[in-house]
Symmetry: C2
Subunit: 404 residues, 2 copies
């Protein structure tokens, strides 16, 4: 990502050259950046030696998953589709955990047959369903139970998951009942307590609270959990201001927690591994003068990248070629879709832009392509992976024929 | 839609039977309802005799488009994908208008070759682009210019499109300049003034204001527009309380407007034709007791139906089989996706529900399937069309193999 010249490069590859060769829009990922983030993650949590299960929903590209598998990560899956893809990518069943509030009979049946590490159950009904299928298959199934710790993750409401009003996990009383139920079951092997309080968390305090809640509840259950699955949610830097979750601090808190609780820790990171590694390269179709601002109309739209429309998320936009002429105008970057929500960013003090210029929407590696759609019958864009000197097409651009 | 029995039927077909035969979730449309809505629309606007161009983005299923074409409607398209699909569905080029702020060279070129009725341009840059391509093709191209009338449509902010801060159309001064420019061009035939102030508008007042603005501007331009394209936005009843836009009143206002402006009116309705005709049939996977409410976990999710997550839209949910036992509990209908946004409705006084019961999310004909995605690697659901006694599969359920 060194950009000594005026041309923005992704691991040495000029964005301009990529756009000329492959057209736009393009999702482009840096394997180097993924590795750097993962190494940093591992380093910070070294003393804990966690099992790291990559959150497949954050980015389910099959080639990326293969690379992630090669780096030794397991997978956190939330559907049979993700489970099959993780297995096909070479991730070992004993490194896969299955999360989600609505696992179907079919999904549970398949997961049991594949002997995955853990099915993390989220309700009494689900546990009964797992037990029934296990009995039918004459198996003993490894499960976890997800606790709803009633913690405010201090993140966006839409991505908070650990408050009592959220649909995830079970509240304390039910949790204790389900632990007792599972202990007695002949077909369930309760191995894990799982918890996940939300996404894009930038402060360790909610995690501290979460660990305190876990400590109390574990005491109450009087049960040794072989695994504690702490989920993910580690917030990344979206503003290029180095404000991200202090993993070192979080690690320290967990280490303290482990003095009394010797369980193996599982993490389910997605965004914190892959978020910063993705770039959405887009071309300016038109620039239109509006009231007190110029609309920069891109060839990328909300169907390609939903986070701004869905979560009001802010992603940095940078020019592919740096120039020194700043504009005094307000720029509003929008897509061509016929919706007011199809808007990426409103900003000041940008460099002066021209039609056909290339821009880059940053940090789109997580919840970018995985949330994309064909709205307005727009074909899905191409995905590239930069692997050292190699530029690899990891998903083809859809053609009109694919769609029509 | 008569439901004299306790079983909910769509044009005589029991939802329960459809679910048993085709599994769930299913989008199911009633052709009868589409026809009723369209006839009602036509009846209300009879004195205006408008050209009705169906908004393809609201629902782009190819079989539905064929039916809509057979009913004599034209198409409002916003991408080359939608244009090709409209043409393939048998809709005639001279009944197709092309809208959107970011039409590419490729899209304009194709639209000109196909001799569609109108390319409604939204910026000076676009008009220059159209002119350039027309010159190259040695053609005279029919265009419209979209005005941004700076009117508050008094609808949800996300679906308001006619305020000066919105990206759509051009403001008055630019509009007049572009009319003058187009008049002089040898390759442009300016035939239309187009305008669209937003979606799901329930009150005629914003339309009244819009017509007043048009009247003034037309006077200023001193130009006879052969067509006035008033867009769509006519609000429908989502609450089953008969509160929808009074089309009769709107028609009356337009008739008055036409005394001085004899232009042919174009409408671009989508939701108002197809919104109420769609039902999303879903099965309850689990019911989970939460804090002060029960979570009703459905097999349909936000990837299947985005409007509640994206616009905080409220859609009625009804049981497939009516019973008399009301519950005092609060029910929160959610999907199985690992996001707190994956939530459809929180409601009181519902009838008591059980796991495996079928429910129906209502009025999902518009912006339902067209906004769907494969998030969480969930296959796209099936679409059925009820055509009298016939149940027609109009898009197959995606299989895991399609996805993996």
């Amino acid at each position: 990502m060194k950009n000594s010249s005026r041309e923005f490069r992704i691991d040495g590859h000029k964005v301009k050259t990529l756009a000329q060769k492959y057209s736009t829009p393009i999702y482009c990922y840096s394997l180097k950046k993924i590795k750097t983030k993962l190494n940093n993650f591992k380093k910070n949590f070294k003393k804990i030696n966690p099992l790291i299960c990559f959150s497949v929903k954050s980015n389910s590209n099959k080639f990326l998953l293969k690379e992630i598998g090669k780096l030794g990560l397991g997978a956190d899956v939330v559907s049979i589709g993700e489970l099959v893809r993780a297995l096909n990518s070479g991730i070992k069943p004993n490194q896969i955990v299955f999360s989600g509030v609505g696992k179907t009979v079919n999904e549970i049946d398949y997961a049991i047959r594949k002997k995955i590490l853990l099915i993390n159950a989220e309700s009494k009904s689900e546990i009964l369903e797992i037990e029934k299928i296990a009995k039918y298959q004459k198996k003993i199934v490894n499960i976890g139970i997800r606790l709803n710790p009633n913690i405010d993750a201090e993140t966006l409401n839409q991505i908070s998951t650990g408050k009592k009003e959220n649909k995830f996990g079970v509240l304390e009383k039910t949790f204790i009942n389900l632990v007792n139920y599972s202990k007695k079951s002949k077909n369930l092997n309760l191995r894990c307590l799982s918890v996940h309080i939300g996404s894009q968390i930038l402060n360790v305090k909610p995690y501290q609270k979460m660990l305190n809640v876990l400590e109390k509840i574990i005491k109450k259950t009087n049960y040794h959990f072989e695994y504690i699955d702490l989920g993910g949610g580690m917030g990344i830097d979206y503003k290029n201001n180095n404000k991200e979750l202090d993993l070192k601090k979080y690690s320290f808190l967990i280490k303290k927690f482990q003095i009394k609780n010797t369980s193996k820790i599982i993490f389910e990171p997605g965004r914190s591994i892959i978020g910063n590694s993705g770039f959405l390269i887009s071309k300016i179709i038109y620039i239109k003068e509006g009231h007190k601002k110029d609309f920069i109309i891109l060839d990328a739209a909300m169907n390609d990248f939903m986070r701004p429309a869905l979560y009001k998320a802010t992603h940095r936009i940078i020019p592919a070629q740096k120039k020194n002429n700043k504009t005094r105008k307000i720029y509003e970057f929008v897509g061509p879709i016929c919706e007011s929500t199809d808007k990426f960013l409103t900003t000041k003090n940008f460099q002066k832009l021209n039609e056909k210029d290339l821009i880059i929407i940053c940090d789109v590696g997580a919840y970018g392509m995985s949330l994309s759609s064909n709205y307005n019958l727009r074909p899905k864009v191409m995905e590239l992976l930069i692997k050292n000197s190699e530029v690899k097409i990891i998903s083809k651009r859809q053609t009109l024929n694919d769609l029509i």
